[in-house]
């Protein structure tokens, strides 16, 4: 029998999960999730002009490199973005990771640009400014997604309870809630940078949890139809089904993890946001795999054990009523004999 099926293991799993979820909620509540570049508040130095840099690529490249060197000499630059106006003008933004440049620095940058000798600088009309950008939370998006996921959970429970078993429905529901919350908690605890796509990861976590748990429950449903499986103890039967579905669960998990790791590696090369969001998705795969193979079967085994015990209790032959019946028959026979 699987050693994770014991009451002690289940208790430890639940306590660890609960502790992680509470700690994650605490961190997320007080510090929030670690924002990625799309949701981070940042300071940006903007070098813009009236349109020359969109016409002359060489000029723009020289200006961009010149400013980058000047700014990086004093501040850490996280990202450099060039944008073109749809009417006229271009803008190079240097996103700073730390430090706040003062007016003197901006003035010196402006002066050094004017004196840089880059061809066309006199006609470009370059302007330098510093902006502070503050992120705004997407409240409607978050609460509507939460409601959507809540309704999906209810549907999951109802469907699994009808098509599989009520106990499996309850276990799938617990697993789905557990997986989404634990994924978010781990992301908050490990301070993995995450932006608005984190809500997409939460939805992915829910869908993946449904898939992996259904693979295990599908196997259990097929196994428990066989008479020989009904004869063995609940924990052993559940454990057997989990072992049989291990390969299937791992097929999906490994295939997804491979895709996620590959995208993550690409992210490490082309953009950190892609890497961090793939790390979040990988957390989701790990959590859902763990819960479908260890936690959910352990919860369902406890339920099945109780359900089997109840069934056995109901199926027991009622000796007391037999004796009562015998007694009544005897007394009625006695009465008849007396009357005769």
């Amino acid at each position: 029998m699987n050693k994770f099926m014991t009451k002690k293991s289940l208790l430890i799993s639940l306590i660890v999960s609960l502790a992680l979820i509470i700690a994650g909620a605490f961190i997320a509540g007080f510090l929030g999730f670690n924002p990625d570049s799309t949701t981070k508040d940042y300071a940006v130095i903007e070098v813009s002009d009236s349109g020359y840099m969109s016409l002359e690529e060489d000029f723009r490249n020289q200006l961009q490199d010149f400013c980058q060197k000047k700014i990086e000499a004093k501040y850490a630059v996280a990202d450099t973005k060039y944008s073109e106006s749809t009417s006229a003008g271009g803008s190079i933004e240097y996103v700073l990771t730390s430090g706040t440049p003062n007016n003197e620095f901006l003035l010196s940058l402006r002066t050094s640009i004017d004196e840089s000798g880059i061809e066309g600088i006199e006609t470009a009309g370059v302007s330098v400014s510093l902006h502070f950008v503050e992120n705004h939370a997407f409240t409607e998006y978050i609460w509507r997604t939460a409601i959507g996921m809540g309704v999906a959970l209810v549907l999951l429970f109802v469907y699994v309870a009808i098509r599989f078993k009520v106990g499996m429905g309850v276990s799938a529901l617990i697993a789905a809630i557990h997986d989404v919350l634990l994924t978010l908690a781990v992301i908050a605890l490990l301070r993995i940078p995450a932006g608005i796509a984190l809500i997409g990861v939460a939805a992915f976590s829910l869908l993946l949890s449904i898939v992996l748990n259904l693979i295990v429950f599908g196997r259990m449903r097929a196994d428990f139809r066989a008479d020989e499986k009904n004869a063995i103890p609940a924990k052993e039967a559940v454990s057997g089904s989990v072992s049989a579905s291990l390969k299937n669960v791992l097929t999906v998990s490994i295939a997804l993890a491979a895709a996620i790791v590959l995208f993550g590696v690409i992210g490490a090369i082309i953009g950190m946001d892609l890497l961090t969001i793939m790390l979040c998705a990988l957390m989701s795969v790990v959590v859902s795999t763990y819960s479908s193979l260890i936690l959910t079967p352990a919860i369902y085994a406890r339920m099945k054990e109780k359900s089997d015990a109840n069934k056995a209790e109901k199926a027991k032959y009622n000796y007391s009523s037999d004796k009562k019946l015998e007694k009544e028959e005897k007394s009625s026979a006695k009465k008849v004999a007396e009357e005769v």
């Binding site: 060039y82 502070f132 998006y141 469907y159 997409g200 869908l207 995208f263 690409i266 082309i270 953009g271």
Partner: protein
């Protein structure tokens, strides 16, 4: 299935799949000097994280940018020089004729605040009653702008506060004109239904007492309209003003009717021709919208004006609109597509090695799944892919692969028990049928619910997953099985073709 029929089917299916693959992934090229071939993948709408978009910064009236300030400064300096030349060193401000921006504007972070909206305190910070009013109106404007963009449901958009008193908005590329969208979403003031008659205007207030809400709807002729839901009182008053407008039009001899303007503040949001009195709960304004997006923009503005907390009295200027590079990197979408191709090839090799003939059927099945998926993603107007959509595609593909493998394993198990190949295939598919259907149904339900309730990224992600799951169900249950029968007609040793083995029994 006969061998000849099988060969014909294999040829036809292969040609169709290759043709679909060609139109799906071939890089764009010019067919003639004027016409260009664009592959299906190249026309997929992408979120701003993978495909970039536009951004603008809304400047409220009384707030200007650094470059505008510098232009005013240059103008002032030029005027001073001219005054010096004309009057000499003893020139006065009147001689200059232009306000000194250093005196009329206050530098605040990366912007400049006009003295019309604030005073300067001792430490040089903005203060005063006017400034308090400005702050209050700006807060309302920020709420309204946020609400309008949020209800528009863009995939991967963002709204940020820049320098405390300007609003930076980033949106993905769409069919809608970005400048029109940014302008309309900046309209300030209350909603008004009017004929704009200067002498005796017929008007109806567009508040929550008169209007329940607005939405974009499709019309019978394939176009789009804005449907405005009226309250009882709204219906009554709307009937009265449309009656008045149509009567006035017929009195003036117009056969087409009068014009009803729907205005937000001083700006005309939309307009409609009225030829008779309209007495209905829902009013449809059509004719001007070729896309749902355009109609939805009008509906979003109307809905935000129904909330009193979002009615603001502040002019917002979004004159500069910039193109925005993909936030995940310039070539993120292309590299992700290549990564998918690498994973698919790896999966194909594994399938062939592990399941041989069944693996070949799986490859054809998966190709069909992938190509139908690409068709849906590129041709369904509502589809848009961002990084969450990429994850949904990966999950959907993994499910499709899993259920095919699951059926093949069941076929193997059945064959191992001693059944014939045909009986094993039938029994294997029968064994996996219930679970495959159950899993797909619950996933479709979950995705459908999230698509209907959620917005933005998750809405699009759910839609992608929903379509992927439906295609996966069809390909797993029917198409791959059909391909398996199609290929099985060819080999002499069908058992070896499917890489099947009997259970080994010990001889006594």
């Amino acid at each position: 299935m006969g061998k000849k029929k099988s060969v014909a089917l294999i040829v036809i299916v292969t040609i169709v799949l290759v043709a679909l693959l060609f139109i799906s992934v071939t890089p764009s090229f010019y067919v003639s000097t004027a016409e260009k071939f664009n592959s299906l993948l190249s026309i997929v709408d992408l979120g701003s994280d993978l495909g970039g978009g536009y951004y603008t910064v809304y400047y409220p009236e009384g707030v200007i940018s650094q470059s505008e300030y510098e232009a005013l400064e240059a103008e002032y300096n030029e005027a001073v020089e001219q005054a010096k030349q004309e009057v000499g060193e003893g020139y006065t401000e009147e001689d200059v004729g232009v306000d000194n921006p250093a005196e009329t504007y206050l530098a605040y972070k990366g912007i400049y605040l006009s003295e019309d909206i604030c005073d300067k305190d001792e430490s040089g910070n903005p203060t005063g009653e006017d400034f308090a009013v400005f702050q209050s109106e700006f807060d309302k404007a920020f709420r309204a702008i946020s609400s309008r963009f949020e209800s528009k449901g863009f995939i991967g958009y963002s709204i940020k506060l820049q320098d405390d008193y300007t609003i930076r908005v980033e949106i993905p590329y769409s069919d809608e004109q970005a400048n029109e969208l940014f302008d309309r979403f900046a309209y300030s003031g209350t909603l008004l239904f009017t004929d704009d008659n200067a002498t005796s205007p017929n008007e109806m207030k567009g508040d929550s007492a008169h209007v329940k809400g607005a939405e974009a709807v499709e019309t019978n002729d394939g176009g789009y309209a804005v449907a405005i839901n009226l309250t009882k009182q709204g219906r009554k008053e709307f009937k009265a003003i449309t009656q008045a407008i149509s009567s006035a039009a017929s009195e003036s001899g117009s056969s087409s009717g009068g014009t009803l303007y729907i205005k937000v503040g001083d700006e005309v949001l939309t307009q409609a021709t009225v030829s008779s009195a309209l007495d209905q709960d829902v009013v449809y304004i059509s004719g001007a919208y070729s896309t749902r997006d355009a109609a939805q923009t009008i509906a979003c503005v109307i809905n935000s004006t129904l909330n009193e907390d979002m009615i603001f009295d502040l002019q917002l200027d979004a004159s500069q609109i910039f193109t925005l590079a993909p936030t995940m990197g310039e070539y993120a979408a292309l590299i992700i597509a290549i990564a998918f191709a690498v994973l698919i090839v790896a999966m194909f090799i594994y399938s062939i090695v592990r399941f041989k003939g069944m693996g070949l059927a799986h490859i054809y099945g998966f190709m069909t799944y992938a190509l139908i998926f690409v068709l849906c993603i590129s041709l369904i107007p509502m589809m848009c892919v961002d990084i969450s959509g990429v994850i949904a595609i990966a999950l959907s593909a993994a499910i499709m692969v899993f259920f095919n493998y699951y059926a093949f394993r069941n076929i193997r198990e059945e064959f191992a028990t001693g059944k014939t190949l045909t009986a094993s295939i039938k029994a294997g598919y029968k064994k996996s049928l219930a679970f495959t259907i159950d899993a797909h149904i619950i996933l479709v339900l979950a995705a459908l619910v999230m698509f209907l309730i959620s917005t933005a990224t998750v809405r699009y992600m759910a839609l992608i997953f929903l379509i992927g799951t439906v295609i996966s169900a069809a390909c797993t249950l029917a198409i791959t099985r059909f391909y398996l029968y199609m290929f099985l007609a060819q080999p002499k040793n069908k058992i070896a073709f499917c890489n099947l083995r009997r259970e080994e029994t010990e001889d006594e």
